[in-house]
């Protein structure tokens, strides 16, 4: 018929011509690879994770080894970040501390995102009274400032790793739920869902094949960004003495320790500061790149 012949152009390869199907995942990875900033962010975050994982191989000292003779030292060849008030090597504590900070950050984000997706999907999919009920409940919770809520729960449950995760993730559920619900509502009324109905897709298939893949993007990205937020939140809790308790080398807890020595031993403060900032920044870069890469309409 009319348009079969190849459209001749000045010599560029034609868009969309390929032998084999390129899956969504490989397209996303491909685009991510091209984004230098995102790639750098991803690599830095991966390195941070690996360093914490292989902490015993990397840390020159035991994180809990007290050495009264060498307490409160400035950075030197032996102790590159110096030592704290008990003579513990700050670098080793930071290396080990990643285990707590990163795990807590990732775990609480994962937890809050999963619950948020469940709640958001229920509200978005069923709509009507269920939706209204859930949304009013969320409104109520979100009236309370997030940090205050977290602190209250943390106080109620007491400190400790599991309790910190619960306290941290509780605040994060609702934002995710609200966002996903909004996305589902937009996608649900979009024309391609109408088209899916017209081609005899069942509602379940429509949700799995059309609605979710096109609405989950925002959620995945905000989860990514959320890790950074959670780490800083946990640091904040520890700073207040609520999160992870000393002597565990959580970065926020270290920050809290360092506060008392700010004047004469600033290394106790900036060392954990730098790693926290580095982590949050690297995840932000990565998440930013992921958002662009996940957009199906993005040109290569």
């Amino acid at each position: 018929m009319t348009e079969l012949k190849k459209v001749p152009t000045g010599g560029k390869p034609e868009a969309g011509v390929r032998e084999k199907k390129e899956t969504q995942l490989s397209m996303i990875l491909h685009r991510l690879m091209k984004n230098k900033l995102a790639l750098t962010g991803g690599i830095i975050f991966l390195c941070l994770c690996l360093i914490s994982l292989f902490a015993p191989l990397i840390a020159p000292y035991d994180w809990s080894a007290v050495d009264p003779v060498h307490k409160l030292m400035h950075p030197s060849a032996q102790h590159i970040f110096g030592t704290d008030q008990f003579g513990r090597d700050i670098f080793s504590r930071i290396v080990y501390g990643g285990r707590y900070s990163l795990t807590l950050g990732v775990a609480s984000t994962l937890f809050s995102t999963l619950l948020g997706v469940v709640v958001g999907s229920i509200a978005g999919y069923f709509g009507g009274a269920v939706d209204r009920l859930i949304m009013r409940f969320i409104d109520m919770i979100q009236c309370v400032p997030g940090m205050l809520l977290t602190i209250c729960i943390s106080v109620a449950l007491g400190s400790g790793i599991v309790n910190t995760v619960i306290a941290m993730s509780f605040g994060g559920i609702w934002g995710t739920a609200r966002m996903l619900r909004g996305q589902i509502l937009t996608v649900r009324t979009s024309e391609y869902v109408e088209a899916a109905k017209a081609t005899n897709n069942s509602s379940f298939r429509t949700i799995v094949k059309y609605v979710l893949p096109n609405s989950i993007q925002q959620t995945v990205i905000s989860a990514c960004m959320g890790i950074g937020g959670a780490i800083s939140g946990i640091s904040g809790l520890s700073f207040l003495g609520l999160g992870v308790q000393p002597p565990l080398p959580e970065w926020g807890a270290m920050l809290s320790d360092g506060r008392n020595y700010l004047r004469y031993y600033p290394n106790m403060l900036w060392a954990p500061c730098i790693v926290i900032a580095l982590t949050i920044l690297s995840i932000s870069f990565f998440g930013d790149g992921l958002r662009d890469a996940m957009d199906p309409r993005m040109k290569d």
């Binding site: 009319t2 348009e3 012949k5 459209v7 001749p8 152009t9 000045g10 010599g11 560029k12």
Partner: protein
């Protein structure tokens, strides 16, 4: 057939350039070239086009999306995006001044007071947090400094009524309007400035036919009452037939055919122009099969060599795929940029005889 370069045409108007008060040359665009750069790619949006419009006259620019026609209007107003777009060459003479080298301060004044533009996408042009009536009356007062707020509002209401928006809606915000209504508000605002030059970029594409008719009538009234000059960008040949004195057909950032309305509509000579007419269903005919140009518009970042149209042209020969294409004067003000005008004509006549 006399062969004559476009340059010849410019010669006779060279001496008008610095004389802004002559009625002859009001807007004169010469060899305008606009490029966009995104990353390493250079998009040749407009490639050395020339045209002029007399005061109070109207020129229609016809072409399909991606042919660079909107870029021309933006270049005239100097509102090309700051990043990546630049006027790479050429001159835009407006009332004896070259807008390309005019300082930004001066352009701001011209944009507000003399040239107004109606955009295709109304949402980008309306302020979402101001009531419709406030937006239009502030524009009216800007142009009539002595006017009181009340008078300006009355005038605004009158203007809105002329585009079919009743008085009960004028205190609404833009988001409360449908797309078509927003477009009409924008038209009303654009026209209430009483501009000397109106640049209309697909002003009625989003509108229903009856409203479109009202808007076109409004523009025509303005031209008649205030002597406004019109540059109308559209893909609708019917609108050009109703509104314009002259027509420029755009393809691949070039003017492929130029002439008076009569010359173009009675004697379309470029294969692309012929294809455009072949794609429009007739309102009187017997429903013959449409004869559009086949294929799709080439990517403007990847235009073919030689004649930009040769990749889709049914009459293309070897010569079309390389080198410069001559501009041929077909008589009067009718110019056509094609190697094979006579062959095309002969083929058309044969077709018609069948």
């Amino acid at each position: 057939m006399k062969e004559k370069e476009f340059e010849k045409k410019h010669d006779h108007r060279e001496h008008h350039h610095h004389d802004g008060h002559r009625d002859g040359e009001f807007l004169s665009v010469k060899d305008l070239t606009v490029e966009y750069t995104s990353g390493k790619q250079v998009v040749h949006a407009v490639n050395g086009i020339s045209f002029d419009i007399k005061r109070g006259h109207s020129l229609g620019i016809v072409g399909e999306s991606g042919c660079g026609k909107s870029t021309v209007a933006k270049a005239i107003l100097r509102i090309l995006p700051d990043h990546g777009a630049r006027i790479a060459g050429g001159e835009i003479w407006y009332k004896g001044r070259d807008l390309v080298s005019e300082p930004e301060k001066r352009m701001e004044h011209i944009r507000g007071a003399e040239i107004s533009m109606i955009f295709q996408d109304p949402m980008t042009a309306l302020n979402p947090v101001k009531k419709i009536i406030d937006q239009i009356s502030s524009v009216i007062r800007l142009h009539n400094p002595g006017m009181t707020k009340k008078e300006a509002e009355e005038q605004g209401i009158k203007m809105l009524r002329r585009v079919g928006i009743g008085e009960d809606r004028v205190r609404d915000y833009p988001h409360q309007f449908s797309g078509g209504m927003q477009q009409r508000v924008e038209v009303a605002i654009g026209l209430s400035c009483n501009p000397d030059l109106l640049l209309a970029d697909e002003p009625t594409t989003a509108l229903d036919v009856t409203i479109q008719a009202q808007v076109l009538d409004l523009i025509r009234d303005l031209m008649r009452e205030k002597g406004t000059t019109l540059l109308l960008i559209t893909h609708n040949l019917g609108i050009v037939a109703e509104m314009c004195d002259d027509v420029a057909v755009f393809y691949g950032g070039e003017i492929v055919e130029y002439g008076s309305k009569r010359e173009i509509f009675k004697n379309p000579s470029h294969p692309y122009t012929i294809g455009l007419f072949g794609a429009v269903p007739s309102l009187t005919g017997e429903g013959e099969r449409l004869k559009p140009v086949e294929g799709i518009m080439p990517d403007p970042s990847d235009l073919p060599l030689g004649c930009k149209f040769h990749t889709r042209c049914p009459y293309a020969t070897e010569a079309c795929s390389e080198g410069e294409v001559p501009v041929v004067q077909l008589g009067g003000t009718h110019y056509c940029q094609c190697h094979n005008i006579e062959a095309v004509k002969a083929a058309q006549e044969k077709e018609a005889a069948k």
